[in-house]
Amino acid sequence: MAGYTYTFDHAHLLGIAGLHKLDIEHILDLSDKYAEATRAGQRPDPVLKNKTVLNLFFENSTRTMSSFEIAAKRLGADVVNMPVAHSSVKKGETLIDTAMTLNAMRPDVLVVRHSASGGVKLLSRKVDCAVINAGDGSHEHPTQGLLDTLTIRRNKGKVEGLKVVICGDIVHSRVARSTTLALHQLGASVHLCGPATLVPNGTETWGAASVQNDFDAALDGADVVIMLRLQLERMDGAYLPSRREYFRYYGLTAERLARAKPDALVMHPGPMNRGIEIESAIADGDRSLITEQVEMGVAVREAVLHLLAGET
């Protein structure tokens, strides 16, 4: 294929669902470079110099917003944080009105989190700048899917052929959707696990290889285990009988992890409920990649910001 050059030709990053395998690999390759640069103490080229990145979070999230802020600043952007959840913007103004108001301020990138599935896509139709979905309802959280995939690729040297188990509240999790879609694209075998009340039908269309309610069986031969955060309000009888029953069947303990491969790695998108979905000894143990995920989160966001708005 002489003369063929790959170009990342997406205007927005709204989900993993719109990405090709080549796109994902390209983002991960660039993320790797940013991760290495940071580890080496190097300042990357200011590809976002004179660009404005607006963090628009309709739902609270200190972690994700900080991650985007650090990524954008490392690339030289001017960053404005708008935690709308606390502001008057939220009251009485529709999402589209907010979008159009902010659009008039001519930002170059809008990083948006919204509580409604599809909310970020709706907003993207009304603005002229690049939009990054930082989580929309129970739909997608693409940078999380990418950072999970990057973390796995760096630690296992590959993604293809790995058995990855994602356990927890699948039905309400945008992380589960994005991570499953991304890992499946790169050839991993993704197995979803959780109590039947928290696993939706039709996950094969996301690329899941199986759905299981028995965590012990699901762990058999796993290379990677991703535990999801369980929202505490789901645990009081509506979806589950109790916290202790959940921990008994779906909590990740050392004993249970022994069913996976000896070199199996453990991940969690955070914030963790220690003692509910994961035992502290595991979360803090040497097989845990949880802090590396946070580190890779910044690298992935640098790569995505670069591709969508950077000077090339």
Partner: protein, 432 residues
């Protein structure tokens, strides 16, 4: 005495099974003569109209229309709904009681009737709330409202949750000779759902409206209809199984009618696509298999009436994230085209498509229109079943243009509409 002869028309009358070229003679607002085979005007007619082979059918009777009058006139008024209706071939419709205030009182029933007479061409029939304020607790004055002209009683989109309240309401309504209409929906189960429950909803991260909720609701409501002897319209069913539940209850002696929204016969859940809020309706667009089975139920005559479920919603209710947007679709102008699309797909014959739009609903309410017969009111439409058109929001006459058909190419269009023999809509004139 005014007389009009419409000749050289393809006469379509589901009630009698007529489908042939002929002429009708209208005298003083009533159909005076139906003459199959006649391609020239009746000689006694003072005025004549050559239909040029267009289809002539009874005007549509729509059992489920919402406007915003009274209280939310920014959505729609009886007058704007009437304009939309006649351009869609609808000559009679029933307005739902869920306005502001709720139609739960005789004076409000009279208000609707009087406003309709003053401002609308179409025949408008009020329905009444089954419970005060649609709150599902205290019975509304069913008898008095029926005497004032309310044609049936319903709790609208919020069906009565307490089975005992519903049973007593139905027992009482039956004793007053009134019909009850109820949405089969076990609300505890449908909960906060916003689209068809299933794979797609799971993938899109939206909460689902399960068919279980509709089936359990239908089982409850039909059983109570059998027990109380109250005639029941199962309002807006969306699966073939619900039609079977209704059919079984009929075999047990229940007087059960069923309605389906035309859009549920046309769209499936995939049309929701990228969170399109114009496709957010309740009951939701189901799977393609469900849609096809529902069409088959129409073919088998298990569906009494196809309705527009016209529910105008202004932009501030629809330009929102999917889960936050209101349910509802404007439908008065697209019902006939939606049904004709099923004829073009060869799923239904023309008469099968027209029956649940005309004599089907007329018979539920005991109306004389909805058929081409001697002495019936001359509410008729002339339509071209093949005429292609592009449905565009900005061309619609309804005040809120929240149509899921926006941007769709449709085939089949109403050219003229007559109510009581009077021309109330002429597309060729409207164009000029």
């Amino acid at each position: 005495m005014t007389t009009l002869s419409i000749h050289n028309a393809r006469l379509l009358d589901p009630a009698s099974g007529t489908d042939e070229i002929g002429a009708i003679l209208i005298e003083n607002g009533l159909i005076k003569e139906i003459t199959p085979g006649l391609t020239t005007p009746h000689s006694t007619a003072k005025s004549t109209l050559d239909a040029n082979g267009l289809c002539l059918a009874p005007g549509l009777i729509d059992l489920r229309v919402k406007t915003g009058e009274p209280g939310e006139e920014q959505k729609e008024t009886l007058a704007t709904a009437s304009r939309a209706a006649v351009s869609g071939g609808v000559t009679s419709f029933v307005v739902m009681p869920d306005s502001k205030p709720v139609i739960d009182d005789v004076a409000l029933v009279r208000f609707i009737s009087e406003r309709a007479k003053e401002t609308a061409d179409v025949r408008i029939y009020p329905s009444g709330a089954l419970t005060v304020g649609l709150e599902g607790n205290a019975m509304a004055e069913v008898g008095l409202m029926a005497d004032a002209g309310a044609v049936f009683f319903t709790n609208g989109d919020l069906p009565i949750q307490n089975a005992s309240t519903l049973k007593r309401s139905m027992t009482y309504a039956a004793s007053r000779g009134a019909i009850v209409m109820s949405r089969p929906d076990e609300r505890a189960l449908s909960g906060s759902g916003v689209m068809n429950a299933g794979t797609l909803a799971g993938r899109m991260g939206l909460s689902g409206l399960s068919k279980d909720a509709e089936w359990i609701g239908a089982m409850r409501d039909t059983q109570l209809a059998i027990s109380t002897g109250c005639p029941l319209i199962l309002d807006l069913i969306s699966t073939a199984r619900t039609a079977e539940i209704a059919h079984d209850a009929r075999q047990q002696g229940g007087k059960i009618y069923t309605t389906v929204a035309a859009h549920n016969l046309f769209f499936n859940e995939l049309d929701v696509g990228d969170y399109l809020t114009y496709c957010k309706v309740n009951p939701p667009f189901r799977s393609e298999d469900d849609r096809l089975a529902l069409i088959d139920a129409v073919k088998q005559g298990l569906i009494t009436a196809v309705v527009s479920a016209h529910d105008p919603q202004p932009p501030e209710e629809k330009r929102l994230p999917y889960a936050e947007a209101s349910f509802g679709a404007a439908g008065l102008e697209t019902t006939l085209a939606a049904m004709l699309s099923l004829v073009h797909e060869e799923q239904l014959t023309l008469l099968e498509a027209l029956a649940p739009l005309t004599n089907g609903p007329a018979d539920v309410l005991g109306l004389p229109q909805g058929r081409l017969s001697d002495g019936a009111p001359a509410d008729v439409i002339l339509f071209d079943p093949n005429k292609p058109w592009l449905c565009q929001r900005e061309d619609l006459l309804t005040r809120s243009t929240n149509s899921p058909f926006d941007g769709r190419r449709l085939q089949g269009r109403v050219m003229q509409t007559f109510i009581a023999g009077k021309n109330v809509f002429d597309r060729t004139a409207a164009k000029k």
